[in-house]
Subunit: 502 residues, 2 copies
Amino acid sequence: MSFNLATILRESRRAHPDKPLCHLGELSLDYRQVDELSGRIAAGLRGLGLRPGDRVAVQLPNIPQFLFAYFGILKAGLIMVPLNPLLRAPEIAYHLTDSGARLLVTFETFAEEAVKAAAEVKTYVVNTPGSDARPAGTLSFDELYGADDETIAPANADDTAVLLYTSGTTGRPKGAELTHFQLYMNCTVAGELFGFRPDDVGLAVLPLFHVFGLSSVLNVAVRFGGTISLVPRFEIGPVLDALERHRCTVFTGVPTMYFAMLRADTAGRDLSALRVGVSGGAAIPGEVLRAFEDKFPGVVILEGYGLSETASTATFNVSAEQRRIASIGRPVWGVETLVVDEDGRPLPPGPEHVGEIVVRGHNVMKGYWNRPQATAEALRDGWFHTGDLAYADEDGYLFVVDRKKDLIVRGGYNVYPREVEEVLYTHPAVAEAAVIGRPDERLGEEVVACVALRPGAAATAEEVTAFCRERLASYKCPREVRFLDALPVGPTGKILKKELRA
Amino acid sequence: MSFNLATILRESRRAHPDKPLCHLGELSLDYRQVDELSGRIAAGLRGLGLRPGDRVAVQLPNIPQFLFAYFGILKAGLIMVPLNPLLRAPEIAYHLTDSGARLLVTFETFAEEAVKAAAEVKTYVVNTPGSDARPAGTLSFDELYGADDETIAPANADDTAVLLYTSGTTGRPKGAELTHFQLYMNCTVAGELFGFRPDDVGLAVLPLFHVFGLSSVLNVAVRFGGTISLVPRFEIGPVLDALERHRCTVFTGVPTMYFAMLRADTAGRDLSALRVGVSGGAAIPGEVLRAFEDKFPGVVILEGYGLSETASTATFNVSAEQRRIASIGRPVWGVETLVVDEDGRPLPPGPEHVGEIVVRGHNVMKGYWNRPQATAEALRDGWFHTGDLAYADEDGYLFVVDRKKDLIVRGGYNVYPREVEEVLYTHPAVAEAAVIGRPDERLGEEVVACVALRPGAAATAEEVTAFCRERLASYKCPREVRFLDALPVGPTGKILKKELRA
């Protein structure tokens, strides 16, 4: 019963060692190279005394070293903790402490920020080609390469492979424990659903530190022996270049990426290899979907739904024939979903029966790292409570009505208001703060801070925004600050966001 | 991460509820019926107060009730303990006690024997159609049906689903703990290897209480939404009838079954649907394989290897192009094998490097039920020690030489019984042959041949010995030949050397 997720790499390498696994611009690496280089990282990690179950944090953009680190960590039986490169020092420190990471791999560009946070954690820096700039006290990623080593540590199927931090409904980020089995099943089931074949080339522009990119892009491609084209950040030029140069067949993205592709000038470009678009992260409007398919004939967009805790796909629209536009589809193989009322009772179909989506199956996390209470709240009888509101139609297709009450989805990124509010509350002039989303054409939602100042205190919108920028990743920062005399509160003193939104 | 093996039934039922899952003669049951009836058994078991993790023993031939019981037990989160219908009362008692089974499902024909054994275990009897004969104190299987119930109990991937008793090398039978994950992976990987498709019809004549029938026939068919034709025991007439009537495409069997098919008169029968033969349980001689493919054009025989503890497939010959005759093939997806010496060191390829096969991967059992010491001996660093002796060729194909325990050491020389048996089988008068060792003061062990002659044929011990001397080194030749009417065989047709030695 031993199973290590790194088996997906080893078996695809056995099947075709010389096939490219990833491209990055003009650079290509085949399956043998990625298997060997990740084996050397595994050897290096073992050599440092890391033992099965130890955590290693990785804060890298979509570059080949992400793959070496990821599969190396897995092969050594360690737990991978992917971190968003945009995190600021206090956030990095929190993640390292909470996960108990023994080692951090980061990138030249973020290294200064990381070093502020990771004083007690050995830090390895990946440099851009030609550079060897590193903050004092850090080591080069190249020093992590050990000797050739084919060993893959045996793991139980239910052992944790990845700790994926997510804020969930409330509070500070929690590490969702994703198991070897769960991640294996998810990429297998999802890849089959959108028909990923060994000759497919997936565009990997979704960040690999996020569950959507990690599972639905990287793992799917490796599981089925295909290829990915790495794009370190979403900019339309490089994306179009990658699609064209590597003849990508599968585009996996969030709606904002589809908007950008729609607006882009693609005249003279040969994007004819593209055959499927996988959309998730937020609802894709029907008009966008149709316009995209008109602009790129032969492409079908399939929308799915999932969360970090469901690693990643929970529901999916299987094909052009079976999909329902505006629906997130039906549960995938081996996954059950229910729409339940506040007491956990299943609701009948129909748009008038809106309830919370709960999910059970192979795709559900083991729990939140060191958070027994949060785990018990989220997982009841094996059912994961998503906090997302939806209804089902007669055929079991789910329609999400509202992404959780308070969650803001800005350009595909989750912004958790409480986290921003906690920063606002540390500002000396702020008495009360509430963060809400307001509709935005381009990004879906924009972050808005509603603030009441302390008596006699003064602050400008620019000042408040700058204060946030120092402490939070840019995408979380409010773009608009509204000053109110006092925030509306309910009987228990809770701020009423509903009224603020109205 | 919850996953119950019964998901394979539920998902195939969702995909095509009206498709036949099993035939038995003129009777057919579709996916909806099997899902519903097994759901009612699950409800009945829950109603009796059985709780997840409790064991239920099932002693049934290949009839639809086996499926209702099996999937019902899984759906209720219980552990299935399949028993060989041929067991005698003391053996049944041993299995019930060792597993701690709380309930026994048995068949009319075996019920008297079972009742002697199962005094303290509630016993439910499946009757033959039209009969309601049951020993006093037993209940009818029909009383186990509860109300309609769609519930599938959540299980962890690493939870035990089936306790499969196996004698292993020594001692009393031990219960190999096969997990939900392990059985799921095995039927998925094996079915993909022999290309099992939804329109395939598998012949289910291998006993379903045995891992080969359970995993490679029943689970494979259900996983891929195909059909099986149940044949309660191997008799050539009913087998040919089933193959013809249900247009079976896949024949899964042990070599003795292939022998019988070869000898059978099939004139006037339309067996043209048959496309693949899966062989395991023992080595299939190359001549038998070729003769079979000549007799049934369009059929390719693919040989694999596995044990109860590897549930079932560990290695396989993938296709007519890639197979090597007389080899058991190479490890399947996600499985590693090594050939190791007595100190556990991997041996290089080549027929001169015979060692024990060890297996690691998703297909290996969790351990032996309540046998920590036997488990520690069998599983070291995740490697299961098979007790089978083999060598590998340069391309990784494995060739089994013999069972470790069957090895005869005569005057310091290793004699592999299988090699001697292969010579004996080429003697025109020999129908069945088995070679065993008997204790010898001077040489340690002496070589003994046990032989059953073909009807009407005659041969003397001297003749047989002389025949061997012409073809084998002197130290390998039997010094004694025992003639028997028939050799004792186990449930899958394997010759029982244990009994011959006694």
